[in-house]
């Protein structure tokens, strides 16, 4: 390779990189103009701004659901021992009165048992009051569903908007062969020309063959 040809190659390289840069510049300009014309530059800007907001919102959902779960578990932790005390107290009193009713009447024993019964009833009034308060708290803890629901609905809307915008961008600027491939969803409807497509079955026999080859 002589000096001339090396210089020529370098020149060629420079020329092509200049052309590339100019082409990228041109594309960027066109893209920018088209985005502005479509009103997409604003929406993309909005979407970029929405992203940190989405993170905050999702964090809020995590926090709210965690708090609600903790609140419910705390309430059951407090209510279960109260319920157990009522059950244990009632069955022990029931036993006492059952054996009392089977033995001869004794006024002294009767008074003792009556005292114990009244004591239990007083405790039960306060225990069931306290466990009802816990039940009310469990009910109130469910308010997270409304609040997180509102936040999640907003995020769904945002994700949907972003998807629509990105898809539009792709459809407008993708090369032709990629455009064909974008239609890969599961809702493609009846095939107009199945014979010419590799990934489409053209009769029921092919359907059955495919299924049996997969072991169905």
């Amino acid at each position: 390779m002589d000096d001339n040809s090396v210089a020529g190659l370098q020149n060629n390289g420079m020329a092509s990189s200049d052309a590339l840069l100019s082409r990228v510049g041109h594309l960027t300009r066109t893209l920018h103009d088209s985005l502005s014309a479509l009103g997409l530059d604003k929406t993309i800007q909005d979407a970029a701004q929405d992203m940190p907001d989405v993170t905050d919102r999702l964090n809020y959902v995590v926090e709210m659901t965690e708090k609600a779960a903790q609140r419910v578990l705390n309430a059951t932790d407090m209510a279960i021992p109260l319920q157990e005390r009522i059950t244990v107290g009632a069955s022990s009193l029931l036993n006492t009165w059952e054996s009392f009713s089977q033995s001869p009447f004794n006024e002294q024993a009767y008074r003792e048992k009556m005292e114990a019964t009244m004591c239990f009833l007083r405790e039960t009034v306060s225990d069931s009051d306290a466990s009802k308060r816990q039940l009310m708290d469990i009910m109130m803890a469910q308010d997270f569903q409304d609040l997180t629901g509102q936040v999640i609905r907003k995020i769904i809307q945002l994700a949907h908007n972003l998807e629509v915008q990105l898809l539009q961008l792709l459809l407008d600027y993708a090369p032709l062969e990629i455009k064909r491939e974008t239609n890969t969803g599961l809702l493609n409807g009846p095939q107009i020309n199945p014979q010419n497509k590799e990934d489409v079955v053209s009769d029921q026999g092919q359907v059955d063959d495919l299924l049996s080859s997969l072991g169905f």
Binding site: M136, M139, D143, L147
Partner: protein, 130 residues
Amino acid sequence: MADQNLKFLVVDDFSTMRRIVRNLLKELGYSNADEAEDGVIALAKLRSEHFDFVVSDWNMPNMDGLTLLQSIRADAALASLPVLMVTAEAKKENIIAAAQAGANGYIVKPFTAATLDEKLVKIFEKLGKK
């Protein structure tokens, strides 16, 4: 204490919140309540049956709580109906807009049973003085 037979309309698009508010009202002694899931349904119910009190959310499909409130105030037959807003909208401009539209009270979610009780008592006190 206000009349226990007062009929409440609870308006919220989330059924969980409607149940919570109804349960709280019941706990406070008001067991006569009906529900609506948005402003349109609420307005239709208010115009066809008698209600004494409305507890409404703000952000709802079809007709939001503020529009419902404005429609109630603009309707001669409903204009004096007490309306308590119970909403997650916590911006000052929301609260001011609701007050200007004639809300009798404003509770921000999440709220407690005690807050609801307090606001109801306050509203009934004011109404009693009129």
